[in-house]
């Protein structure tokens, strides 16, 4: 599958900003399944310094600074990527049972497992908690295959929680999310990660995009898409698997990855420091994920069978 993605971010300031220093996690990441064919980065006004760097987690991020007065900041990234067709869904019912996964996590000496243990620890926005463990525990009986348990957790979050963009912002604590069972993709990903870590499993946060399709017969609106987030778990010897609790599924070829980290704070789409600017800068984000022509007709029919209500963000 080939996509063209346009991701633009605009900040509008009440007063002039004299200079700013920013980091942006808005570039697609090259992965086993994902290849970047074209990348075009526009920063306006023109950046004084601008570099693409690779971070500790292997993500590409954009560093830039602007050192002249401005009241509007625009960052737009156009990329063309190719995603390998999803192989058949992994059979979740075979594979290592939960107890064995725990055993391997403690005793495996392979590099990947040792590194994955980083994702079992608390991170700035996700802390283990007994309430989270309690919520998740029923799915993780000892002899159940681990990945099937994670799929069940994903399903339960999807069923128990209401998607509600008015409820939360990036700082909403997990306890609140659990109490009200509301939130957005980011909260659901954090919540799942918190559940898994509370039970002693490694889980990481993945940010990216999801292709959405308009209702049958309607034209797709530009910018109707949004940034999306989900999570991945690690099973020693089996590797990392990604799940999307907002849409109740294992991620497929409609999930386009930009970056991963311990939680949102490691991969915040655009952060930085500004001098001046006055109060409450206004943020506008628009994302457009579009299949590139040749594949379009063929794939549209496949995905339309999905219930639209599932594709929430």
């Amino acid at each position: 599958m080939k996509y063209r993605i346009l991701h633009s971010t605009r900040y509008q300031y009440a007063l002039s900003v004299s200079n700013c220093y920013n980091l942006a996690y808005v570039l697609p990441r090259a992965t086993e399944r994902q290849r970047i064919d074209k990348l075009d980065i526009k920063v306006s006004p023109m950046a004084t310094t601008r570099t693409i760097r690779t971070d500790y987690f292997g993500n590409q991020f954009l560093q830039f600074s602007i050192e002249k007065d401005h009241t509007v900041l625009d960052v737009s990234i156009t990329s063309e990527i190719y995603i390998k067709d999803a192989t058949t869904d992994p059979n979740l019912d075979f594979g290592n049972p939960c107890t064995y996964v725990k055993y391997l996590l403690q005793h495996s000496k392979d590099w990947e497992t040792l590194c994955a243990r980083e994702f079992m620890l608390d991170s700035p926005m996700v802390q283990a908690h007994s309430d989270l463990a309690e919520y998740a525990a029923p799915s993780f009986s000892d002899d159940r295959p681990f990945l099937s348990a994670v799929m069940e957790l994903t399903q339960r979050i999807f069923a128990d929680f209401t998607y509600d963009p008015t409820f939360s912002d990036v700082a909403t604590p997990l306890a609140e999310v659990l109490k009200h069972k509301r939130g957005v993709c980011q909260d659901f990903a954090h919540f799942a990660i918190g559940c898994l870590r509370s039970l002693g499993f490694p889980a990481r946060y993945v940010s990216g995009y999801l292709e959405t399709l308009p209702p049958p017969g309607q034209k797709k609106l530009v910018g109707a898409d949004a940034t999306h987030a989900w999570f991945a778990v690690y099973s020693p010897g089996e590797g990392w698997y990604e799940f999307d609790p907002t849409n109740n599924k294992i991620t497929g070829e409609q999930h386009i990855t930009t970056a991963w980290g311990r939680d949102y704070s490691d991969v915040t789409p655009l952060k930085g420091v500004i001098f001046g600017g006055g109060h409450s800068p206004q943020l506008f984000v628009s994302v457009d994920v579009r299949r590139i022509a040749e594949d379009f007709v063929q794939t549209q029919t496949q995905t339309q069978s999905q219930s639209q209500s599932q594709i929430q963000r």
């Binding site: 004299s18 220093y21 560093q63 040792l114 243990r117 926005m125 420091v273 500004i274």
Partner: protein, 852 residues
Amino acid sequence: MKPYSTLMENPVTTSDIKAFMYPSPLAGIDEAYDSEGGIRPHWRYLLHSLQTLGQDAIEERQRKTRRILRDDGATYKIYDEPDANQSWQLNPIPLLIDSEEWNQIETSLVERAELFNLLLQDIYGERTLVRQGVIPPELLFSHHGFLRPCHQIKLPGDHQLILHAADLARAPDGTMRVMADRTQAPSGAGYALENRTVMNRVFPSLFRDSHVHRLSLFFSRLRQRLHELNPNGGIARIVVLTPGIYNEAYFEHAYLANYLGFQLVQGSDLSVRNGYVWMKALDGLKRVDVILRRVDDVYCDPVELRGDSRLGVPGLLEVARMGHVAIANPLGSSVLENPALLRYLPAISQALLGRDLQMPSVKTWWCGNSDDLEYVCANLKDLLIKPTYRRPGLYEVYGADLDDKKLQAWQNRIRKNPLQFVAQEYVAGAQTPTWHQGQIQPRASVLRTFAVASESSYSVMPGGLTRVNLDADKKIISNQRGSISKDTWVLASEPEKQISLLNIDAQSSNESTNALPSRVVENLFWMGRYAERAESALRLLRTVFIQLNKTEKLPDPVCRTLLSAITHVTATYPGFTSLQNTLFKNPEPEMISIILDHQRLGSVANNLIAMINAAEQVKEQFSSDTQRVINDIGDQLEQLKQTLEPNTLSAPEEALAPLITTLLAFAGLIHESMTRGNGWHFMEMGRRLERALQIVNTLRSLLVTGFEEIEQETLIESNLLCGEALITYRRRYQNGMRIEQGLEMIMLNAKNPRSLIYQLTQLEEHFSNLTNNQDEFSAEQKLLLEATTALRLSDIKLLAKTTNGIRSDLDQLLSRLQYLITTATKAIGQHYFDHTDGPQLLVKNTEWEDQL
């Protein structure tokens, strides 16, 4: 006293000294006593000399020590006790180490610094220690000092770790053990240097004859290494980055900056532009090449590290990543302070160095290991509990100091967050002779040592910072808990050869790297202003006290005019400008309030405290003479609280005199001993502007209204008295007080240093001498030129003339001058000082969590 060499021929024996020493301890280890109860040879000369000096002389030198430390402004703040005495404390008896033992210690410390350097490189590079299972991944990944954004950042040269410090204690078997490593921004080297300087002055001959290894070479090596780190070529501009005056070790930051010849800066003095770090100086941005960092790494860059930090420089990390600035120690180095590393250090040493360390660490258990956790919980009462990540307010605790309830609470806390705690075997440290309550007493000591990367290895400071608790019951030795310090003498077997430091110091800075940050200049400007405000107010108050206490009672209108002048000049409205009669009947309480009420804006105390605070901000700019005078100003202000009791005053003007004299001494010192750089010019400009304003205000309050001749004379006299011009006036004009002559003297007499025209011409002079002076006049220069011209063009006769009891020409002129000078002052602020908005975060709510 016998010098060391003769001592060798006629050695002092234990029995010669015993009378003055505490008895040989029955148990434990002692620095001065050997296990048989004899005094160790390297202690004999010192102890014998102290005995010869005797109690009184030692006490006297202890007092002298305190005085010098205070004059040097040597402070150390204890966060939990903000009101406690903040003076740095130095015990007169040093810790002695003989050269043979020191050689071993030194070798071990070099080895340890090498190991920590390799460890740092591994942590932010390949992480082979995690890969190969030498350390559990959680040990690294859960530590708050592990800064992922610092991954792969490298300093030029062989070493990533520039400074390494270690806390050593002597174990019961007599060998030294390392209790902790300091790699964030090791403090104490500056205090050790200050201790040495003071000891050298207080015990000059004892010091000379003891053949003590010098400290200066260590600092030369540090300076040299920082120059070598310069990534940009040319002569490096090196700065010491301090969190500012609220940091406990701020004195040391200022002291080191001065000693090393670097500029002391705060985060807000620096700015990232075009991929480099710059210092905001008065005449523009100056590139900074190397930063000696005394700000904790997580606070150094709000873009990539703690977003809520106000102490850092936005964008700094990226500049370091680009290799355009070198930071020592590098950002991320606090990861090495994790005491859990000590548990794995033997294995780490095998993995990285291929051998065991010569000097072992104190036995350490990490609660992240389940066996260790159980051991720690079972033995908590015998162990020292430490968090793996240090932060203010979270200190180590000794289990033996806790009751059962607290022990249980700690156990719960540890079990809840086992990764974040270690426990250590408690090592008391050896007893060392300490001067306390007029005699030598044994006190446990710990020693902080310092190593700096030098050439292909490390160079260790011979000695270090020794600390003891005067309270023998206190178990943990830490400056934050009131421990005091000692100098540490490494005794050479023969006099040390003088090594020329010329080569090493060849890369000294030049004029171009000496620019001051504009914050410093602004503080100096304000110091000048506050000092002058306080002085003018005091002069006027003194004059009014004198006039009020004259044997003849003043006529009411004169009295009212004088009193309202105080309110006008100090801007402490409404004060005497309100029409309350009680205030005029008994003016003393209000006058005293204007002097002493430090919370009252415009009061003398308020201005002086503001001046002292500004001085603290720029203390690195002052000599110890100046520091002493600034201390005196604070002291005399305190004293005034006792001497100025309302209604008990016989001659209140007398009480004010010492403070006025001290302020004059301060002005004189500045005038006589400060280099004529921008800092001096701005301080003087602040003073001149303020004095000009005060003259205008006083004139307007006292002389605009016309009075009968006798009354008028009192007011002119008062005005001249404020301006110290009365004597000159009387000598020149022997026919009583006339308004024209008075005005001439105060406004236009170019020879009177307290006249208005004198202030204005001095200001002109200062402007023409500023380093960035340009041909075209700036806004403030134009305003001041207009003021000068208006003054020069004025006609004294017209000014003196009254119409309907008012000198309206005088009033108009003064009002114009007031406007021009005030506006010029504001213009200077806008022109030279950085008042841009502080940084703000684009995304506000992803700040770091404080989990403990």
